[in-house]
Amino acid sequence: MTSSDPAIRVRGLTKSYKKVQALAGVDFDVPAGKVTGFVGPNGAGKTTTFRALLGLTRPDSGTIEMLGLPVPRELAVITRRCGAIIEEPGLLQALSGHTNMQIAADTLGLGHGRIQDLLEFVGLADDARRKVSEYSKGMRQRLALAAALIAGPELLLLDEPLDGLDPVGQKVFRSRLRELADEGATVVVSSHDMADIEAIADHLIVIRRGSIAAAGPLDSLLDGGGTRVVIENPSSAMEVLRAAGIEARFTGSELFVSSQDRERIVRTLGAAQMFPSEVSAHRSSLESVFFELTGEEEE
């Protein structure tokens, strides 16, 4: 596998549970060394996809490659290079955080040398001897992250890791993921919360009803394909632009112009003695892109 190869390559993945089709021919690539957001409404197929990647569910058809190796044939190798959180943190509540880390290391066939460093990395060194049942939700999520990192993985699959965390917990968790990606790890984070993903992801995969609705770099998906103009009299400016054959609409003092030719927009307005205070690329929010792609109703 070279650095330009995707960390994950999925083709034609299908999975049905009785009469419900959870995955209907899913194709996507996850670029290596980036944070990829895997988003979709509840029931879209996020968890089923994650489970299929890890060999926890058998797909009906399709192929999966992780780190250049086929799943499920090379799972024994892949799982030693990949950390995961699947739905819940997967911790033994009756045991301490430290013992949970020991069990994670033993299950991978590793020593216990990294445990202390990882507990410090997630800010749990002082609470390591307490039972997990006494932890807050945020502490459990951070412990689960530490357990997922025990092998120093090249690839992290995190299913809804930020779900239920308070804002401080989310911030800490996101910063840890960013650090890992900056160190070269590939991180895939699933969520149904767009703000989480927009804050952290470089790349985005949108899944809807078991099919991929969109995939690509976050910036390109959020690029609204137009221009945002801040001007004193947007209503008049809109009329001027429309008269020149440039489609535009306005909200408040902001004018959204369908054209990306900013020079022509400024020239047209200038000819009418109208001078914008700001002209920039129009960037959609991830939430609006998500609703557009998934066909979900905004509340």
């Binding site: 926890l56 799972l75 024994a76 943190p89 009756a94 045991l95 301490s96 013992t99 033993d106 299950t107």
Partner: protein, 256 residues
């Protein structure tokens, strides 16, 4: 080996195991007192109380220990059942995808833990019988060694059944109800129903131990006292294989 260590950590760091050891000690102490010492101190209104003298008392004690079939069931079902009803099992497989490795590690750990508890129970019984029981003498060393491997056979078979039940039901509560219900019913049916003793796991578990005791109220209530050693081992091998198959099938047939 590291999978075995992981399973051992899961078991040994809980209160469940020490609690079962306390229960085993209390039960075996009571049995030892009632069957070896009570007759000597019983008031006259009890008449001729049943008593097992030494050295047969030790073989009788070993048989009673092997009858604690709830022990491997509770250990295996309680510890593993909780994993299936959460995502712990999925995370274990995400770290090590070898289902066979996990099953073998659990089998080894729960069998060993049950065996240790049996040995502990035997030690408690023997201490009380030696101190308070009538008669004298001790079985030869070969007999004591025989108790140890018989305990291992009982622990392995009932552990396999416990793991099989929990792999099929994926529920600690349901697994406990089914296995403990089976343990109770199997022993009862073996005593009271026709030829079932020839297939009963409870009968085989106690039938491995030839105590040489044929009289008294206890002998009639202990299933399997008349089974030959090869017969008892055959029954246990059959049930152990059934437990393995259940475990394997239960883990394969459903997603983690």
């Amino acid at each position: 080996m590291s999978l075995i260590h992981a399973e051992w950590l899961k078991l040994s760091r809980r209160k469940l195991y020490p609690a079962t050891l306390v229960a085993v000690a209390a039960f075996m102490a009571l049995i030892a007192f009632v069957t070896t010492a009570f007759a000597d101190i019983a008031p006259p209104e009890f008449g001729d109380a049943f008593s097992v003298p030494k050295p047969q008392a030790f073989g009788f004690g070993a048989q009673q220990v092997a009858g604690l079939t709830w022990l491997p069931l509770v250990l295996s079902v309680a510890v593993v059942g909780g994993e299936f009803s959460t995502t712990v099992w999925a995370h274990s497989l995400a770290r090590n995808p070898s289902r066979l490795g996990h099953v073998v590690a659990r089998m080894v750990v729960f069998t060993a833990a049950s065996w240790l508890a049996f040995v502990f129970g035997m030690a408690v019984f023997s201490a009380i019988a030696a101190a308070l029981g009538s008669g004298s003498g001790s079985p030869p060393l070969s007999e004591w060694i025989g108790y140890l491997w018989r305990f291992a056979a009982v622990a392995l078979t009932w552990t396999a059944l416990g793991l099989g039940a929990v792999a099929m039901t994926r529920s600690m509560v349901l697994g406990l109800v089914i296995t403990l219900g089976f343990s109770f019913a199997d022993g009862l049916v073996a005593v009271f129903v026709g030829n079932y003793e020839a297939f009963s796991l409870s009968a085989a578990s106690t039938g491995l131990f030839d105590t040489g005791i044929t009289g008294g109220p206890f002998a009639a209530l202990i299933p399997g006292t008349g089974l030959s050693m090869p017969h008892a081992l055959g029954i246990m091998a059959g049930w152990a294989a059934f437990g393995f198959v259940l475990t394997w099938w239960g883990l394969q047939r459903r997603d983690a």
